[in-house]
């Protein structure tokens, strides 16, 4: 799917009018930057949203399969063993990564204050990325699956993804290299980190699994390390960069504390890469690995607390913006979900809890907390801010944004609750030797049905989001002028 975007031209005064002020020059600058980046960013967003729709369908089907296996039972490619990995990979590689990369590019050019040169190459990288995801997902549906969680794609697809990512990352680093002199804002720390973290994670994991062919528990160790970092480190970095940018930007106040931001970033970079070990508790691996993971998850409280207090102090006095501004509402939901994700990960990593929740839906709940409740909500917030600037018109309908928010917020909340509590109840019942296995399975049924209900709500939300976005890129939006807000507000937040 491709989008044709006419780069918009900057604001310019009429000849003969008063000389332009510094603020106006700043606006010209921003307009030029936005115009240069609009092609690739909108391309990434459009493909990401297309994959989000596919993920929604796959997710709904896999959820149905849990309680009604006969649903679409005639098609082998829709069996649970294929549709679940297809769903997870579509959600992460199809939706989350391109949405994150689109946001990353826009934030990079804005914060480095340079126009993007040769944006067509980035679009080229994006096309490659989408080919890789397509090859991978089709292979999974055909039954070709490496069997490693989050690395299910065959090595051909992984290679395409890696090349595509390299094209994108080189551009990101080039933008950073050519940045305008001046202080490097917090979001940029995370974004530059993300640019280097992803090839490290994806390259090392694929090198170990498909080139060196490590054996036995070493595979589990690699997969656990990759899975936790793919979500925690890579998505975490882009998500936090987005929150760090949009909360101060929309509220019009600086990030409250540079010191807290530093502590938050360095503790994130130091502790998060160790979190994967916690997923190995109970496995036949040297005991220090899970212990290290659990210790790191306790230490991640440092990141969670400093980052969140910083956000809260920045928001102080502007909390009413959650009521008015779509960007702030989605972004703040994401920020809160980041904290919840960290705390649930920490509690879930304790050996006494993990003993019950291992191999249950609890793990899926943690994944959705990170990928959807935190990262995707932050990306929605970013898209609601960025797209009008790149397309040149406003969101058509505040009602559709409102419906999208509430459907996503309630849908993902219900889905995660069903997974977390279902997993906990399931694990406790399995641990009870007096309870027959059949009754344990029956006991889990309501939670599975609850997940399907959550998926129906999510489908509604994503449908409104897609329609609104489609109208936006087709320029059916409101003419530029007033921002589309939930409620009118003095001083126009964005």
């Amino acid at each position: 799917m491709s989008v044709t975007v006419t780069p918009t031209k900057p604001v310019l005064p009429q000849p003969g009018s008063a000389p332009i002020s510094v603020a106006e020059l700043d606006q010209v600058d921003r307009a030029l930057i936005d115009a240069s980046a609009s092609g690739p960013v909108l391309f990434f967003y459009t493909t990401a949203i297309t994959w989000l729709l596919a993920a929604t369908v796959f997710g709904f089907i896999s959820s149905m399969k849990m309680h009604s296996p006969e649903f679409l039972g005639g098609w082998s490619f829709l069996t649970y063993g294929r549709i679940w990995p297809a769903y997870i990979d579509t959600l992460t590689y199809g939706w989350a990564c391109p949405a994150g990369m689109g946001t990353l590019i826009w934030l990079m050019v804005r914060l480095c204050r340079v126009s993007l040169r040769k944006p067509a190459l980035l679009v080229f990288g994006g096309i490659f990325w989408n080919i890789g995801v397509t090859v991978g997902v089709v292979n999974i549906l055909l039954g070709v699956n490496s069997g490693h969680a989050l690395l299910e794609f065959p090595s051909s697809a992984s290679a395409i993804l890696f090349i595509a990512y390299s094209l994108i990352a080189i551009w990101g680093v080039a933008v950073f290299e050519n940045r305008r002199p001046g202080p490097v804002y917090v979001s940029l720390w995370y974004l530059v980190g993300a640019l280097f973290w992803f090839p490290w994670l994806y390259g090392a994991a694929n090198l170990m699994l498909t080139v060196l062919h490590v054996r036995g528990v070493m595979q589990s160790i690699v997969v656990a390390w990759f899975g936790a970092n793919f979500i925690g480190l890579w998505m975490g970095a882009i998500g936090l960069a987005s929150v760090y940018y949009f909360i101060p930007k929309v509220t019009g106040r600086p990030v409250a504390s540079y010191y807290l931001a530093s502590i938050g970033f360095w503790s994130f970079a130091l502790f998060y890469p160790w979190l994967g070990g916690a997923h190995l508790a109970g496995s036949p691996v040297p005991v220090w690995m899970p212990t290290m993971g659990i210790a790191a998850s306790i230490m991640s409280v440092v990141t969670l607390a400093t980052v969140f207090v910083n956000f809260a102090m920045t928001m102080r006095g502007s909390y009413n913006m959650i009521y008015h501004s779509p960007t702030i509402r989605f972004t703040f939901y994401g920020a809160v979900a980041f904290i919840v994700t960290g705390l649930v990960n920490m509690i879930g990593s304790f050996r006494s809890v993990d003993r019950l929740t291992h191999f249950t839906e609890f793990g899926a709940g943690e994944l959705h907390l990170g990928v959807y409740a935190f990262f995707s909500m932050a990306m929605f917030g970013a898209i609601y801010y960025i797209a009008p600037r790149l397309v040149g018109c406003e969101w058509l309908s505040a009602t559709m944004i409102r419906l999208h928010f509430w459907a996503s917020a309630y849908g993902i909340g219900l889905l995660i609750c069903m997974m977390l509590f279902g997993g906990l109840a399931h694990g406790s019942a399995m641990d009870n030797t007096g309870q027959p296995f059949e009754s344990v399975i029956e006991m889990g049924q309501p939670y599975m049905r609850g997940q399907t209900v959550a998926w129906i709500v999510l489908i509604i939300g994503h449908a409104f989001f897609t329609i609104n976005f489609l109208l936006m890129i087709l320029r059916f939006g409101k003419p530029a002028g007033q921002p589309t807000l939930f409620a009118p507000m003095e001083g126009e937040p964005h």
Binding site: V11, L12, V28, P254, A281, V302, M313
Partner: protein, 241 residues
């Protein structure tokens, strides 16, 4: 990384290249950019003391946990409740958990996997079908007959402890390693009240060479040709007690 370059020159808005015809529309298009607030920076609010306390508490808890359950960072420690001995090092932890296996222990394991189906856990075999090993004249005494049986197998009929086993066929176990054969024979010769001595892997290796030409199984007559107290090469003769 090279130093950031000089600021890029913003094109002067008053050159001839500007398409003024579009300016009016463009002003509307960029209403979003015009109204947006300036890019964010960082203020320097000091970190609250309570927050730093929370951070240090978390670090302390994590450090305590890591110190308690690290298993000495030893690659061979798999139980989270295993801790290094007081004043001990990682190597002591290994000694604590890794047990040196005796030939009899290895032999018992080999027996369970390969021999127990016929000769039974009790070593008594099954009457009329599989000969007993407990107190058997082939097991006790010299080791040569036993080694021959293991390496090449036996074709019945054969008389053991006064009972005749007509259809008994024991396959050759020469696929097992020298060490496993030596260990299982040592085990068999010391279990169930048997009184035979230990057999070493070197003896089995030598016996392999000695009987290399033999392609089929032994008969009872072949075995009885060998003196009852003859030992495998490298061992001393052991009269039946």
């Amino acid at each position: 990384m090279s130093a950031p370059r000089e600021p890029r020159q913003v094109p002067s808005p008053l050159t001839d290249e500007i398409d003024y015809v579009e300016t009016h529309d463009v002003a509307q298009v960029h209403a979003a950019i015009r109204r947006e607030k300036s890019d964010p920076g960082e203020a320097t609010t000091p970190a609250p003391v309570w927050l730093m306390s929370v951070c240090f508490l978390a670090m302390a808890c994590a450090g305590f946990y890591l110190g308690m359950y690290n298993g000495g960072f030893d690659a061979n420690v798999f139980d989270w409740y295993t801790r290094p001995l007081p004043g001990g090092s990682g190597s002591q932890v290994s000694q604590n958990t890794a047990v040196e296996l005796t030939p009899v222990m290895i032999g018992q394991n080999v027996f369970k996997l390969n021999c127990q189906t016929c000769h039974q856990d009790s070593g008594l075999g099954i009457a009329g079908q599989y000969p007993p090993l407990a107190k058997s004249e082939y097991v006790n005494g010299g080791s040569e007959r036993l080694g021959m049986i293991l390496l090449k197998g036996v074709q019945g009929p054969i008389k053991v402890e006064g009972a005749t086993f007509g259809a008994a066929v024991m396959p050759a176990w020469d696929k097992l390693s020298d060490q496993k054969i030596a260990c299982v024979l040592t085990y068999v010769r010391q279990a169930w009240g048997n009184t035979g001595g230990e057999i070493t892997p070197e003896q089995i290796a030598a016996a392999r060479k000695q009987f290399a030409a033999k392609t089929d199984s032994w008969s009872e007559a072949d075995l009885l040709k060998v003196p009852a107290d003859a030992a495998l090469p490298g061992g001393k003769a052991e009269p039946k007690k």
